[in-house]
């Protein structure tokens, strides 16, 4: 079973967001890393880039497939996880912790309300059979 913690919000494209004040940390879910398998490559944006909600902010690749990463919220990138770029296995091992990808300064905190709760995300992936 995939881990679906309660303290983050979820997007339909399998990213998670955790907020501390107006800083949002973004990564991909345990379900997403499990579906991808061994992650081998991660491409992240430059610090300072301003992301719009649902904008493509990077690319993630596993031995099996390539996926695009979409920002669940709008904001300026203030930090990227260089450790995860160099050692991508951390995304498989700890997707909600050391496998985080970018931190952004939120432009509009109300965007968080449109994201899914853990319960809603659990329903989404339960209906996401056939993988």
């Amino acid at each position: 079973m995939s881990k679906i913690p309660d303290n983050v919000r979820y997007s339909h494209t399998h990213e998670w967001v955790r907020c501390e004040g107006d800083i949002a940390t973004i990564g991909i879910t345990d379900h997403a890393q499990s579906e991808l398998g061994d992650i081998t490559y991660l491409d992240l944006p430059e610090v300072g880039r301003v992301l719009q909600r649902d904008e493509r902010f990077g690319e993630i690749e596993s031995v099996k497939a390539v996926s695009e990463l979409f920002s669940p919220v709008s904001g300026e990138v203030i930090e990227v996880n260089a450790g995860a770029v160099d050692a991508t296995e951390v995304i498989n091992e700890d997707p909600y912790g050391n496998g985080w990808m970018v931190r952004v300064r939120l432009q509009d905190p109300s965007e968080l309300d449109t994201l899914m709760s853990a319960e809603e995300y659990a329903r989404l992936i339960a209906g996401d059979g056939g993988h």
């Binding site: 398998g37 061994d38 081998t40 490559y41 690749e61 031995v63 099996k64 390539v66 991508t88």
Partner: protein
């Protein structure tokens, strides 16, 4: 093709019970991985992995004229095989294209076993039968047998122990023995598709299934097609449909070492001689990337503004910690050390041409001393 239409190997239920992810491959439902593709590839480089390769075609060719028939339809010199020897070989078209790459086992003077690609088994059977003699029987044994590969530095001793046959350790590469196991004979050949030492085992379904369990109890780790593909790319081995097909010649694929022009007449010989004398415009090479990004089949290779080739297979190498590829490039650029760029989804990623077998580098702990 619906999943229910896929053929299943005798180990299908065992794979499901072990939690394998099953994928369609050449009409078969096959395990792509059990846990992690990269961990499975590493275990084969460092210890021993076991692969179900029962999807591969197994064809018996027997009879008074079996040797001359095989000399005519395959490119390598079958007369060099003594009973107990095997060889890598090709079926060629009259135009010099590659119909399949195969392994020919000589079991007795007039009895041969061919192991062919799953995707080509039907076509290969048709091809041999079209060129066979009346005295030769060509029988598809795929469904009544199973086949597993045990690969890795510890694989030979593991297999010898499970089969209680220490003599297996005396076999050289591409030699095989038929070892008695529970009253039947198991063909044990020192071959593989990973670049590591090991054995490929062929025998009746029940016994090979039992050997699978025993090898795992002895420490072999089950590995899927994902690891198998990564390992064979690292080892520089071609895969039919990627590096070779009916539109590629053994000259450009670097496979002339299994085309024995001096052995006498065989199908494709004249065409290959002509291609070789005319020279080829492209050659199959290995490529090492400066990045962890993976090249994939069909991506273009560039030198400056010119497209100079394309990728046939690519993966992330757990040995090299970077993207690696095989592909065809224009002959003048095929020299090792040449710098090229691979277009990966619009990004130009620098890469270096290397001989195919140089994709396989030892793990640091192997290179010490």
């Amino acid at each position: 093709m619906a999943v229910s239409d896929l053929k299943r190997t005798p180990l299908y239920d065992v794979h499901l019970a072990a939690g394998a992810r099953m994928v369609p491959f050449a009409g078969w439902a096959m395990p792509v991985s059990y846990q992690s593709i990269l961990d499975e590839a590493r275990v084969v480089r460092q210890h021993a992995g076991i692969f179900d390769i029962s999807h591969m075609g197994r064809v018996c060719v027997e009879g008074a004229e079996s040797l001359p028939v095989l000399q005519r339809v395959t490119s390598n010199d079958v007369s060099r095989l003594a009973p107990g020897d095997a060889q890598y070989s090709l079926f060629l078209t009259p135009q010099g294209g590659i119909i399949d790459d195969i392994i020919v086992y000589r079991r007795r003077a007039q009895e041969f076993l061919l192991v062919v690609n799953a995707s080509n088994t039907e076509e290969d059977l048709r091809w041999i039968r079209e060129h066979t003699a009346q005295s030769v029987a060509v029988v598809d044994r795929t469904s009544e047998t199973a086949m597993v590969a045990v690969q890795g530095p510890h694989a030979p001793s593991l297999v010898a122990g499970v089969l209680e046959s220490p003599a297996l350790l005396d076999l050289g590469r591409f030699q095989f023995a038929e070892v008695e196991f529970r009253g039947t004979l198991i063909v044990c050949c020192r071959t593989g598709y990973t670049g590591e030492d090991g054995f490929e085992l062929i025998g009746p379904v029940q016994e090979v299934s039992s050997l699978w369990e025993r090898c795992i109890r002895a420490g072999a780790v089950p590995c899927g097609l994902g690891a198998r593909d990564t390992l064979r790319i690292e080892a520089g081995y071609p895969l039919y449909g990627h590096e070779i097909d009916t539109h590629t010649s053994p000259v450009e694929a670097g496979l002339m070492w299994v085309v024995k022009l001096e052995k006498g007449e065989f199908i494709g010989r004249d065409a290959v001689m002509q291609i070789r004398s005319e020279g080829v415009l492209r050659r199959l090479v290995g490529m090492l990337l400066d990045s962890r990004i993976q090249p994939r089949q069909g991506y273009t290779v560039h030198a400056g503004d010119a497209v100079v080739g394309s990728v046939t297979s690519g993966t992330f190498s757990p040995l090299r910690h970077c993207g690696i590829a095989m592909g065809y490039v224009a002959t003048p650029l095929a020299r090792p050390g040449t710098r090229v760029e691979i277009d990966i989804r619009g990004k130009r990623v620098p890469a270096r041409i290397v001989p195919k077998k140089n994709l396989l580098a030892p793990y640091p702990e192997h290179s010490e001393g």
